[in-house]
């Protein structure tokens, strides 16, 4: 039947043509230069006698030629036009068309469902190709996107959170705010960082509704589509090898502002000792630890040491700086090696791509190592003419090992203090020294003599002997199978299936020798008059196992329609899919564990034991848990784009998603989402003659993306927990109150774009404006406490529901320029994004003091305020220091005040200051590429502007109680007049927590986050075949790369990296590598 379809028009044509025998008929066939596939829908016109014809599905055409000599123009939307001189005697032609390179970026964009020619795409897409990805050396894919992707920003260094990605700012309040990650057409559920970046062909970012709405309810935050490498037909074997090594400096512990020199710290301790601050510690029942200096002072007070002896001992401690030992023994240079080898090739009937990768990462923290093996394989075959089958198998095995000692270098005891700065970790011969940990030194030596296990903590011993480590293994398997059937030239049906499995095994082992195990064993021992009697806690190691298993399957059936006729062309898809994702985990703890024999001992988890020496009653926790979650989706989707005369494109898409939303009535489990778009290629208009502006296109789209929040339900829901402490029974906690009005989140997005290019692409660019309107967003609503419903996460009387609305808008600008184009070439890519969001309606209310503390999104909380961005920096108003006392002052009304409890807990939102957004509103990059002969140099400068952060400063209460230091202590107000040069309050004793809290959250410590940094520099030396004639290789590329180069400008005067206001920023790394193919 199909054959008939194809031949019928052909027969008719020939019939008609034969009727006009007077003229000569010219025949020919058009094929693609790259694929050798016939090109359908090409317009063949004779310039002289104005006749036109279209190529058929097999690429063939016929046209009647009436003048003896003429020019044949062949044009097609996706190919470069070609003009051929013809005459009446010209024999059958075979015309090879090359793909058009006039597009700004790629020929097509991949949405995960289809490849759309960029020329006809109405939506907002950004494509990052292999070359751009290769500029950066990194172990993962995602970090390669930073600074080269328009509209994408990375939020780093937020306390309590991992690095977060954002496409065009915030689109939701309480729901997941991360973009959807798609790998090879399906959402990726495993750890995206394990994917080998060498296997990635290209990445497409879907930003607006027209681009992303095909992903329905998961598209609300944009979509990142990663496409891995595949083979191509008719291509000889190509082997590519890539190897590189990255070396990083040791972290600079001296950068950390939250530190006080030993001398100054000892000064504080002496002062506190004299004030009697530690008196209770010496007599406390629980043998509280005291630092060596306080211990010396106490001995002096008791007459065990004279003043001179005490001073000598203390002076010795003054010269110790723990950072030196940490840097020497706990850190090292990081080394990351990466190797990847790939093979690809293909003939008429099939093609393949096969790669293997190995990564080894020796992290800067000693004892911390990762490695990864990746295998990526794809085979595509055309066993029958109209069938194409493909299969892909990916396997990733990663292991990681980490030592836990570093995090334990703290002072414990009932308050849990930070370590004192003069703690020496190693003696002169490099031998391990003990530090004061949970109890005082006398008690520890006493206990050791009375039958207890040694109670000392020697960090270096633990590190060297790996007493306390966490090791993880994970195995990621992905299997894809696809079958495509070419029903006709324009219709293609396909079924795709993907199965993904990810298994993770983590084990944290503290051996019997570890301090953690010894401490627990000692603590839980039965004791009589200070003598050890027996163990209640098995005397052995402690093994914590945490295993996860993640499975997903996706099944998609899809029909693709692609047809061009005359001036019309139409691309459409329709399909259905179903996906299921399960996540199971279990944790188990083994007591008395011996790793050599794999033996363990049971404990009595129900009895209460009195701990020694604290005299508290505790149970020994079982450490067991099991979780199992399941997500199911079923969706119907479709879209269509119609283009007329290559000038106008109309697009529309729709999708209905269903999900196993819990406790929702069936009719609300499905949500329809849609989008529509229009594109006008102005430069294709007949009236358009601006040759200097070679390319000019404009487009506009509108539509809805959705978001999921499964944490709320229409009915009262609860979750089971095991093992209630008094009964041992399973018990139920109410999680959500009923909410019959529950709906999905929807964000309406308007996007308007302009693409242009000057002659010769001297400047080419894209300008986009967007407006987002989030409706029915999940938000909190405060309810009366007497309702009795308490949100178990926030411990407040709030309920979640579709209570919030927000708006956002912004700009994305991308400009590419060719500044010099001779043998020396200089090109620039300039990216600028402006993204702002505002909560327009929010039913909940947050205490002003809470906004000040965590309104910036730290600690994982979101505290929206109507009229403000989702994450903002709020602070207490600052009225300067009191000139006579150095007390910090705030405002009560308009009056400067020192009423700290009131200042620290203001009643109204107007009592506090909103400084500005916590996340950059303006960001982007300037990438410059310089190339000369075989060399090219890429320098990427990134910037983030228009946002704020809070820097840390001295908090006397925390300094005294928890040893939490800050360098600002040295700048404190000490005498009248100091207020002219410092804003750091005077030391007050006894400390006043409200005073300290007020100061630490006042506007004086809020800094502008604006900064510009040289993110990375890469230098490439590239030799191609024509130079390497004598060598059996096609290409050799040597590269050197420096990452995290330097900050070149920052608004704050304190030298703080605003991406990392606390802690230590990532280190500069240097890499060299080789990439070759043959």
């Amino acid at each position: 039947m199909k054959i008939l379809c194809c031949f019928l028009p052909l027969l008719l044509c020939t019939f008609i043509l034969r009727a006009q025998q007077a003229n000569t008929t010219l025949r020919g066939k058009i094929v693609s230069a790259s694929t050798r596939e016939p090109v359908e829908g090409a317009v063949i016109s004779l310039l002289h006698n104005k006749k036109t014809a279209l190529s058929k599905s097999d690429g063939s055409f016929t046209i009647t030629i009436s003048s003896p000599v003429d020019s044949l123009l062949v044009s097609h939307v996706s190919y470069l036009p070609q003009t051929i001189a013809v005459n009446s005697g010209t024999p059958a032609l075979l015309i090879t068309l090359s793909e058009s390179i006039t597009k700004m970026n790629e020929v097509t964009v991949n949405t995960g469902y289809q490849n759309i020619p960029k020329e006809r795409a109405t939506g907002s897409f950004v494509t990052v190709n292999t070359e751009l990805l290769n500029n950066r050396v990194a172990p993962d894919v995602i970090s390669k996107l930073e600074g080269i992707t328009s509209g994408l920003v990375f939020y780093k260094g937020i306390t309590g959170r991992n690095t977060e990605l954002s496409i065009r700012g915030q689109s939701t309040i309480l729901s997941n705010a991360q973009p959807l990650l798609v790998v090879d057409n399906f959402p990726y559920e495993g750890d995206i960082n394990t994917i080998n970046p060498n296997d990635v062909e290209s990445i497409t970012i879907l930003k607006d509704a027209a681009a992303a709405s095909i992903w329905g309810v998961r598209a609300g935050n944009g979509v990142i589509v990663i496409t891995t490498k595949k083979g191509s037909y008719n291509r000889p074997l190509q082997v590519t090898l890539n190897a590189n090594v990255t070396v990083g400096k040791k972290p600079d512990l001296f950068y950390n502002r939250d530190f006080l020199s030993s001398a100054e710290f000892i000064g504080v301790e002496r002062f506190l000792f004299d004030m009697g601050y530690y008196n209770a510690d010496f007599t406390a029942v629980n043998k509280r630890p005291v630092t060596p200096v306080v211990d010396i002072l106490y001995r002096q007070r008791q007459g065990l040491l004279n003043a001179a002896e005490a001073n000598t001992a203390i002076d010795q401690l003054k010269s110790i700086d723990i950072r030196n030992d940490l840097q020497k023994y706990f850190y090292r240079q990081s080394v990351n090696e990466q190797y990847s080898l790939s093979l690809q090739g293909g003939n008429e009937r099939g093609n393949y791509f096969l790669s293997g990768g190995y990564d080894k990462d020796i992290a800067s923290a000693r004892g911390s190592e990762n490695d990864r093996v990746t295998i990526h394989s794809v085979i595509t075959s055309r066993p029958l003419k109209r069938f194409e089958v493909s299969a892909a198998v990916d396997f990733i095995a990663s292991t990681s090992m980490a030592d836990n000692t570093l995090s334990q270098i703290t002072m414990g005891g009932p308050n849990g203090k930070s370590i004192y700065p003069y703690a020496g970790l190693a003696g002169s011969s490099g031998n391990a020294l003990s530090i004061v940990k949970d109890y005082n030194t006398d008690f520890i030596s006493h206990a050791t003599e009375h039958g207890f296990l040694n109670w000392q903590f020697l960090p270096l011993d633990e590190l060297r002997n790996q007493y306390n480590t966490t090791s993880s293994k994970s195995y990621e398997t992905r299997v894809l199978a696809g079958i495509a059937y070419h029903v006709s030239k324009s219709i293609n049906a396909e079924i795709k299936f993907q199965y993904e499995n990810s298994m993770g095994y983590r084990r944290k082992l503290s051996t019997l020798q570890s301090y953690q195990a010894r401490n627990s064993i000692n603590m839980f021992s039965t004791v009589s008059a200070g003598e050890f009697v027996n163990y209640n806690y098995p005397a052995g190691g402690l093994l914590d196992q945490y295993n996860t298993g993640l499975n997903s399957y996706n099944l998609r059936g899809q029909l693709n329609y692609n047809k061009g006729w005359g001036r019309h062309s139409m691309v459409a898809i329709a399909g259905i899919e179903q996906r299921q994702f399960t996540n199971e985990s279990n944790s188990k703890r083994f007591y008395g564990y011996d790793d050599d024999l794999a033996t363990f001992t049971d404990v009595d988890p129900t009895s209460y034991f009195t701990t020694y020496p604290a005299n508290r009653s505790f149970q020994i926790p079982t450490g067991q848990d099991i979780t199992a979650t399941l997500d199911r989706f079923r969706s119907v989707f479709g879209n269509a784009a119609y283009t007329y005369d290559n000038r106008y494109t109309l697009s529309a898409s729709g999708r209905v998603d269903g999900s196993n939303y819990f406790g929702v009535e069936a009719n609300k489990k499905n949500v329809p989402l849609w989008s529509a778009g229009f594109k006008w290629n102005i430069d294709q208009e007949r009236f358009y003659h601006a040759g200097w502006l070679r390319l000019l296109k404009t487009r506009i789209t509108y539509g809805y993306n959705g978001n999921l929040n499964k944490s709320i339900t229409a009915y009262t829901s609860g979750f089971y927990s095991s093992d209630a402490p008094y009964t041992g029974r399973s018990f139920l906690t109410i999680l959500t109150p009923p909410n019959k009005e529950l709906r999905w989140e929807k964000t309406g997005i308007l996007n308007a774009g302009l693409d242009f290019a000057l002659r010769n692409n001297i400047v080419a660019g894209t300008l986009e404006y967007y407006y987002k309107n989030g409706k029915d967003l999940i938000g909190d609503n405060t309810i009366a406490p007497s309702t009795g419903f308490i949100d178990i996460n926030s411990f407040t009387n709030t309920v979640k529901g579709n209570f919030a609305n927000m708006k956002g808008h912004g700009w994305d600008v991308q400009l590419n320029s060719v500044n010099i184009n001779r043998s020396f070439k200089w090109t620039t890519q300039f990216l600028f994004s402006y993204a702002t969001d505002k909560v327009t309606f929010y039913g909940g209310s947050n205490p002003p003091s809470q906004l000040v503390h965590i309104g910036n999104g730290s600690s994982g909380f979101v505290l929206p305020v109507q009229g403000k961005p989702v994450y903002g920096i709020y602070s207490f108003k600052w009225a300067g220091l009191n000139p006579s006392t150095g007390n910090p002052r705030g405002y009560v009304g308009d009056i400067a005040s020192e009423d700290y409890p009131l200042l620290d807990n203001p009643a109204l939102l107007t009592d506090i200051q909103y400084n500005g957004p916590a996340r950059p509103r303006e960001y982007g990059s300037i990438g410059n590429t310089f190339s000369l002969k075989h060399f090219s140099l890429f320098v990427n400068i990134t910037y983030k502007l228009d946002y704020y952060f809070r820097r840390s400063s001295v908090n006397y209460y925390y300094l005294f109680r928890y040893n939490n230091s800050n360098g600002d202590y040295s700048k404190r107000w000490q005498k009248p007049g100091d207020e002219k040069t410092t804003q750091v309050p005077s030391l007050q004793y006894p400390p006043n927590i409200s005073r300290d809290d007020f100061y630490n959250n006042s506007s004086i410590l809020v800094e502008k986050g604006d900064h510009i940094r040289i993110q990375d520099i890469s230098l490439n030396y590239n030799l191609t075949k024509n130079v390497l004639v004598k060598l059996p290789v096609n290409r050799v590329e040597l590269y050197a790369y420096v990452n995290n180069v330097a900050i070149i400008w920052r608004a704050n005067k304190e030298g703080i990296d605003p991406d990392y206001p606390s802690g230590i920023p990532p280190l500069r790394t240097y890499a060299i590598g080789l990439r070759t193919s043959f």
Binding site: M1, K2, T283, A284, V487, S488, I491, A493, I495, L555, G557, I576, Q578, Y608, T610, N615, S617, T627, A628, T629, L630, D631, R632, R634, G658, N660, Y661, F662, G663, A666, T716, S717, G718, F719, Y720, S721, A724, Y726, T727, R729, F731, L732, T733, I734, L735, I783, A784, P785, S786, T787, G788, F789, I790, N797, P901, N905, A907, P990, N992, I993
Partner: protein
């Protein structure tokens, strides 16, 4: 083209076959449920540490006179609520959320939800006792928590003014959209008594776990309630019913008095376990037992050692019947003392003194106890109240007793505190014996605030 149709047909078949109604009905998390079954409702009631057996109000304990603390410790308290309560300030919360209000209402929300759903279940014959236990327990806890709230947030019951004094909002439905105004004190006590009374026929004599209500605990709570409204005859009646079922007393001679926690949770004397909404101020690192109380324990009185630790030179409360410092449940000793008081108030001196001596003989060193004697009911009452003070320290009962006994001019006392040289006083029947309603409640439901 036929092939195309085949494909379309195939996909439609595939899709509709997967469209089985239940496919999208699968639970997203195995631990999630919509609690409607008997097992679910019982599991809600068994939520002991987070819900029903936890969160009893501590504001009264903070403001009462069992202890004092040092100025630096007072300064270091985390919440304004605790600082202000300690000195009986006019403004207590300063915007802080008030767990003492939130948690009892949370229990009431759970109880209402359970009551609404238990009535929808028609139990099989073998499940009737389960059904009864759930129904009775939910009724009991609702009454129990209304009682706890009334004790802190409304005036002490006074028959003259109870019909007009504002009580607490009586939430009898779980619907969070309901706005409930304050009842009167009379209505509040009617509800407490009606819930507790209604629970009795459904509850077992003794519960399978001491975290679950039983007839014993319902009788005990009714005895407490009637004692609070000065109906000594009924209080006696219920205390008697309670003691008839459970009269076990621990002989303190059998305890390890040197242990830091001599008592176990759920011990033989406990009738119903409940824990206070743990205040920082009353923890044994901070609070120092009132020296008069400490001195009142005879050296042969084992409570001196069982209750109090003096290792650091100060008398510190070791802990009570929860194996820790926050017992706020019901135990036999309290009910025995309650019965003794009722006997005394009803002029049955002999019976009163017998109960008192029965208790005290278990508290003293073996062989050292000389039974107390009283010549009049008043004398008996005085002895009983003194011993009640010594027996029930840090049990969350002192505040209730202060409110109750202050009504009687002969027993009324003024509390004083000395903090950093400043003196604070709380005279009897002061308006500060009623805590303000939390600001969040006033904002959300516009109910009337207590004068302070």
């Amino acid at each position: 083209m036929k092939a195309l149709y085949k494909i379309i047909l195939f996909t439609i078949v595939f899709y509709t076959s997967s469209c089985r109604k239940d496919w999208l009905d699968a639970k997203p998390d195995k631990k999630l449920v919509i609690p409607v079954s008997l097992a679910d409702l019982q599991a809600l009631l068994d939520n002991d540490i987070y819900v029903f057996n936890n969160g009893q109000p501590s504001l009264g304990e903070i403001a009462s006179d069992d202890y004092y603390i040092g100025y630096p410790d007072w300064q270091a308290l985390y919440t304004s609520t605790e600082k202000n309560s300690y000195v009986w300030a006019k403004d207590i919360y300063q915007g802080e959320s008030v767990a003492d209000w939130m948690l009892p209402y949370q229990h009431i929300f759970y109880a209402n939800y359970i009551l609404e759903n238990i009535d929808k279940i028609v139990p099989d014959s073998n499940e009737v006792s389960k059904w009864n236990n759930i129904k009775g327990s939910a009724l009991f806890f609702r009454g129990f928590d209304f009682y706890s709230l009334a004790d802190i947030f409304s005036k002490q019951f006074d028959s003259a003014t109870a019909a007009t004094d504002p009580g607490i909002p009586l939430r009898l439905r779980s619907d969070i959209n309901d706005i409930v105004a304050r009842s009167t004190v009379l209505q509040t006590y009617h509800q407490i008594i009606s819930d507790l009374t209604a629970s009795i026929p459904f509850l077992p004599d003794v519960a399978a776990y001491k975290t679950r209500p039983s007839k014993t605990s319902a009788y005990a709570m009714l005895a407490r309630t009637y004692l609070g409204i000065d109906n000594y005859a009924l209080a006696l009646n219920y205390a008697d019913s309670c003691i008839t079922i459970q009269n076990t007393l621990i002989d303190y001679n059998s305890l390890d008095l040197t242990a830091s926690f001599p008592f176990n949770a759920l011990n033989d004397e406990v009738i119903l376990h409940a824990a206070i909404n743990y205040p920082q101020i009353v923890s044994n690192y901070v609070a120092i037992v009132d020296s008069v109380i400490y001195a009142s324990y005879d050296t042969n009185d084992l409570r001196r050692y069982a209750f109090i630790d003096t290792t650091d030179g100060y008398p510190r409360f070791k802990g009570g019947y929860d194996g820790s410092t926050g017992f706020a449940g019901i135990a036999t000793d309290e009910i025995l003392l309650l019965r003794a008081e009722c006997y005394a108030r009803l002029s049955n001196t002999t019976a009163a003194m017998k109960d008192l001596n029965d208790l005290l003989i278990t508290r003293w060193k073996s062989g050292s106890y000389i039974p107390l004697a009283a010549t009049s009911a008043d004398e008996a009452l005085a002895l009983i109240l003194t011993e009640r003070r010594k027996e029930l320290i840090f049990r969350g009962l002192r505040w209730t007793d202060l409110r109750r006994l202050n009504k009687d001019p002969k027993l009324a006392i003024t509390l004083t505190r000395n903090l950093n040289g400043q003196l604070y006083t709380l005279p009897p029947n002061d308006s500060r014996y009623v805590y303000p309603i939390p600001d969040q409640e006033i904002v959300a439901s516009h109910i009337t605030q207590n004068p302070r």
